[in-house]
């Protein structure tokens, strides 16, 4: 059962003029959250803004003894609610409902975990990298952004033993271009008998390219989709994703309860 916590803002770290990491005191949600799950956050009390916004659980925060104390969110300013969360001050409270949705399926060795992130799509991968590391799974993060200043938390992933493959659109760090290009080369070079699970989160075009590329090489791919949603519980039918169904048909599934993690090869990409 999801928990609705009036979560206190513990810390707010600005990463850039657009991105911040908001730490929230929500021990029960933190203890229950699995990698890839999300929370619905209401940035302000009152009716404007009215709706909650979905956020992947970015980090599970723990005290010295390892007990979960809260979660953090990777926030990017794109509108009124995300502006408020960017400006949130420690001590302030936000309503936080979760954990919600289906998590990533975490693989075991010898399967490798390859995470593919675009921009704010980095959000579910700290938690996933930790889970992969705990199981002893070798992991790689393919991470693309517009420029070097928007590639965040690289040290955190390095500490977790994750290999980094970085791309920027302006070439200021890593390879110039899109993140799917190095992914494709790695897939082409990989022996067919060495299993790999691909995890992707980011803009829709990147997800489609990743899922299509994975399918072309016969590799499984779990994608975490982002949709506008009102409730996060299956009530509003706002957040649908068309999934292949029957012969050439499709069926709309609610990404809040059937996802947000969905099998990439079954999504009917635009």
């Amino acid at each position: 059962m999801p928990i609705d916590a009036p979560a206190e803002v513990i810390a707010n770290h600005a990463l850039s003029t657009d991105y911040n990491v908001l730490a929230l005191a929500a021990p029960a949600i933190a203890a229950a959250a699995a990698p890839g799950q999300f929370v619905m956050v209401k940035a302000a009390f009152g009716h404007d803004p009215l709706l909650r916004r979905p956020f992947s659980v970015f980090e599970v925060l723990r005290d010295d003894r390892g007990t979960p104390t809260g979660i953090s969110l990777l926030n990017k300013r794109i509108g009124v609610s995300t502006d408020l969360l960017y400006a949130a001050r420690p001590g302030q409270r936000v309503a936080c409902l979760g954990p919600l949705g289906r998590s990533f399926t975490v693989v075991d060795p010898p399967t490798e975990g390859w995470m593919v992130a675009g921009g704010v799509g980095l959000a579910p991968f700290v938690a996933l990298a930790e889970a992969l590391g705990t199981r002893g799974v070798a992991s790689t993060l393919f991470y693309g952004a517009r420029r070097a200043e928007e590639l965040f938390y690289l040290d955190v992933f390095r500490r977790l033993g994750v290999e980094l493959v970085l791309t920027t659109e302006d070439g200021s760090l890593g390879e110039r271009g899109r993140v799917v290009a190095p992914l494709e080369r790695r897939l082409a070079a990989r022996a067919a008998d060495r299993p790999v699970m691909i995890y992707a989160c980011g803009p829709e075009g990147m997800l489609a390219a990743t899922a299509t590329t994975a399918a072309r090489f016969g590799r499984p791919c779990q994608v975490s989709v982002e949709r506008i949603m009102a409730c996060g519980l299956g009530g509003c039918y706002s957040c649908v994703v068309p999934m292949r169904h029957g012969h050439g048909g499709f069926h709309h599934v609610r990404s809040c309860i059937a996802g947000p993690v969905l099998p990439g090869d079954q999504i009917l990409w635009e």
């Binding site: 059962m1 999801p2 609705d4 209401k42 009716h47 404007d48 803004p49 009215l50 709706l51 909650r52 309503a95 409902l97 949709r227 506008i228 949603m229 009102a230 409730c231 519980l233 299956g234 009530g235 509003c236 039918y237 706002s238 957040c239 649908v240 994703v241 068309p242 499709f250 069926h251 709309h252 309860i257």
Partner: protein, 312 residues
């Protein structure tokens, strides 16, 4: 303290009903809401067949409200009866099935099928969805269409029949009267207000259907006015809705003339809202020494209040 209200032959244990289209088929909320604690659950609108609805994006937030054009995605009446109704019955929910047709015969067929199903407590006729091209609102925007569909359904069912009216007409009370004359047990109002939002950077509408229905606190004063107008016009009970987010909002509708109220958008924001609303209503009843909530219905004191105005 008696919170029960009557809608035709149906008694609701309290006046709070989950609004159609805002609560899935009810079972989605079984983990967070005691479904038997609600006065009723108006399930997502059903056609005979399954429908996929519109592509995303289907909603956009607006000032104190939201716009939706889901397009009545649904599993169809047969799957509802097989897959959802048994759990709703097991959880002792009061089930109001919202039905929608593209033809008058489809409404009749749906009413027949649901009248034979165990566990259906009332039928809400969706003649007001603004987001589909055919059927539904075609009936709800014509007085004869409203009369015809209500009387046709009336003839084939003993279940309480509650048409849900659209506010997108000049005089909603005349539609309430047409429904009453056709034998409706109650009327439910309002559905959403047809509206649109444009992204000025791209010059494109923000939802895929271009236009959609506006709900949320932004519409509440208009909805209250419409319930009030209908209360002056018809004798059958009214189920009021539109932007209820707190107990006093529900009470406003009740005082304006609604016997029961529905809550939709606010339960998206706070799925745990139901006991809070009930507590607020009970507190009001205590403070005003009201023993039966039914006694509060339509008790608005609409005398001119010029003498009370203060200059400001």
């Amino acid at each position: 303290m008696d919170l029960s209200v009557r809608i035709g032959s149906l008694t609701l244990k309290n006046p709070l009903v989950a609004a159609s289209g805002c609560f899935g088929y009810g079972v989605e909320y079984a983990e967070v809401v005691d479904l038997s604690s609600l006065g009723g659950i108006a399930v997502k609108g059903l056609f005979l067949a399954e429908r996929e609805g519109h592509p995303a994006p289907r909603i956009v937030e607006t000032p104190a409200g939201m716009l939706n054009a889901i397009g009545l995605q649904g599993i169809g009446v047969h799957r509802f009866i097989d897959e959802k109704l048994p759990e709703l019955r097991a959880r002792k929910a009061t089930v109001i099935v919202n039905i929608c047709g593209t033809t008058l015969n489809e409404y009749v067929e749906l009413a027949r099928i649901l009248s034979d199903a165990e566990g259906v407590d009332a039928l809400e006729l969706n003649i007001s969805c603004p987001n589909i091209k055919e059927g539904g609102i075609t009936f709800g925007c014509s007085l004869t269409g409203t009369f015809d569909v209500v009387s046709a359904v009336r003839k084939v069912t003993r279940l309480p029949v509650v048409p849900k009216l659209t506010p997108n007409v000049t005089d909603v009370a005349s539609f309430a009267r047409a429904a009453e004359e056709a034998g409706a047990d109650a009327v439910a109002l309002v559905n959403t207000f047809l509206a649109m939002v444009i992204d000025v950077e791209t010059r494109r509408p923000k939802i895929s259907n271009v236009v959609g229905g506006l709900s949320g606190p932004a519409i509440r004063p208009i909805a209250v006015r419409m319930v009030y107008e209908c209360r002056q016009t018809v004798k059958i009970p009214i189920v009021g809705m539109g932007g209820i987010a707190e107990a006093r909002d529900a009470l406003e509708f009740i005082i304006a003339g609604a016997s029961a109220v529905q809550v939709g958008t606010a339960s998206f924001v706070d799925p745990f809202i139901w006991p809070k609303l009930l507590d607020g209503i009970r507190d009001y009843m205590r403070r005003h020494q009201i023993a039966r909530i039914a006694d509060l219905v339509g008790t608005i004191d609409a005398r001119a209040r010029d003498h009370e105005w203060t200059s400001s």
